[in-house]
Amino acid sequence: MGDDYGGTGGGKHTPVIDRLDPLFTTIAKLLGELAGNEAALEVVRQEEERDVGDGWSQDVTTLTYPGTYGFETTAVYWYPDAEHNKSGDSPEERRRTFEKAVDKAWHDAYDEWTSGSTEPVYRTTTQSVWEPDPVAMADATADLSGLVQWLNSQVGAAGWAATDDDQAPDWLVDLEKGWPATSQSPQSFYAFWDDVNDKCALYLNAAARLTATSAQVTATVSDFQANTVDVSKKTKSRVVDALKKWQQWKYDSGSWPTGELEDNDAPAILGYVSYGAGVVGLYPPAAAIAGPISVAAGTLSYLIPEQTKNMAALHAATAFGIHQGYVNDLDDVESGMRAVIDTIQTEPPEDGSTTGSQDFTSFTADVVGNRKDWSPPEVSL
């Protein structure tokens, strides 16, 4: 994570999908190789276990499994003895037929996974995670942060005072002395001016809450994008590991590569960490008032300290098992992101700030409901 995600500090901004798409393609291709190995092995087993009756003999041939992680291994095939050979195939022809069947099974399975139908599943599952641009959100948050700081500078220190107050600016005092007699209501102007401080204090609360919430959502989106990349990288490594075990298997090491009987119960990978509390605690409204909030998109890995602890894809070793586990993991990333944003919306930050005891929806409803009280008083000159 980090630089590749860009951020408000400049530098290259690479959309996360540009990192995910090659991973999706690679995973599909590697799963295709794995499925090819499994399909080829099935043909080998069928040949080995074929009930041929009397008059058949076995021989051994060397098979080449193709692919990036291809390998050579041996397999047995049957051929009829001369006196039982009704087809007229020679042992050599039987061997070639067997090898072609194995090769065809491998490529059929490979094509099924790599014909372009696998990646869209991964893309669609994670669309709501990779599609938003946290850099654009971080820039917007920085602008809102500027508003918070400006409002904060206005409260109590900008001469928003009545004409008889020591804080009143000279020009305002002079204006009162020289106000034209033709004016309808100079008092309305002084009342407005004197009220600006109070209004800025109200707006400061709202702006701080808005900015903090914006930062929290931005950080969440950014984190879950990073999480998606991480999950994908680990899944890719898992497929590579499985393919390497196939390569080792050719040496009769005893390690069985497929793990095909292993259950895949797809535990939730994000089920053990309270992200909401983390991200709310990181960007509370009080922090927005205390200083400019900068959300460096994609740099918050500590929010998800054990993000891959229980990845479903890592519990499987067959092509379908890893694929299904990976899809489950991606589903969990998507629902996990939504759950965190739910928390941001519904949990009060309780940070001691003026708005800290209200959830975001209630606070917003209050502000909307009190529009009249929040409006500046009218001036009639």
């Binding site: 995670v129 938003p132 917007a140 002395k177």
Partner: protein, 120 residues
């Protein structure tokens, strides 16, 4: 400084300098809210169209409305004071004499346009 000097100077300073500057400040930050909320809600909509986007939009609109109301009040006050002072200049000889020496206050105060409302 004579009384008329002080009076005219106070009114035109407020109308042409102080209040336009305040209007400009509030205009700028109202524009900032509009500029921020549009990308923010757009991206949140892409993030599964989470309902928090509606809250963010609602709160932003409220802030914008109030900041723009501030801006408008400062602008209206500046224009009102300028009109009152101009009327005074038209009927008072001393005021007219002062104004002729202070042509920097001729014309309308330089005020920002209305801040752009967010579409959110």
């Amino acid at each position: 400084m004579s009384e008329i000097d002080m009076k005219m100077s106070a009114i035109y300073t407020a109308a042409h300098d102080v209040l336009p500057e305040k209007a400009q400040d509030f205009w700028f930050y109202a524009e900032e809210v509009t500029g921020a909320i549009e990308p923010l809600t757009r991206e949140v909509a892409l993030a599964g169209n989470h309902p928090i986007g509606a809250d963010l939009a609602d709160l932003s609109v409220e802030l914008f409305v109030h900041l723009r109301a501030m801006e408008r009040t400062f602008k209206d006050s500046a224009t009102g004071l300028d009109d009152i002072a101009d009327d005074f200049v038209a009927v008072d000889g001393e005021a007219k004499a002062w104004f002729e020496k202070h042509q920097e206050y001729a014309g309308e105060p330089d005020l920002p346009s209305d801040a752009t409302a967010p579409e959110a």
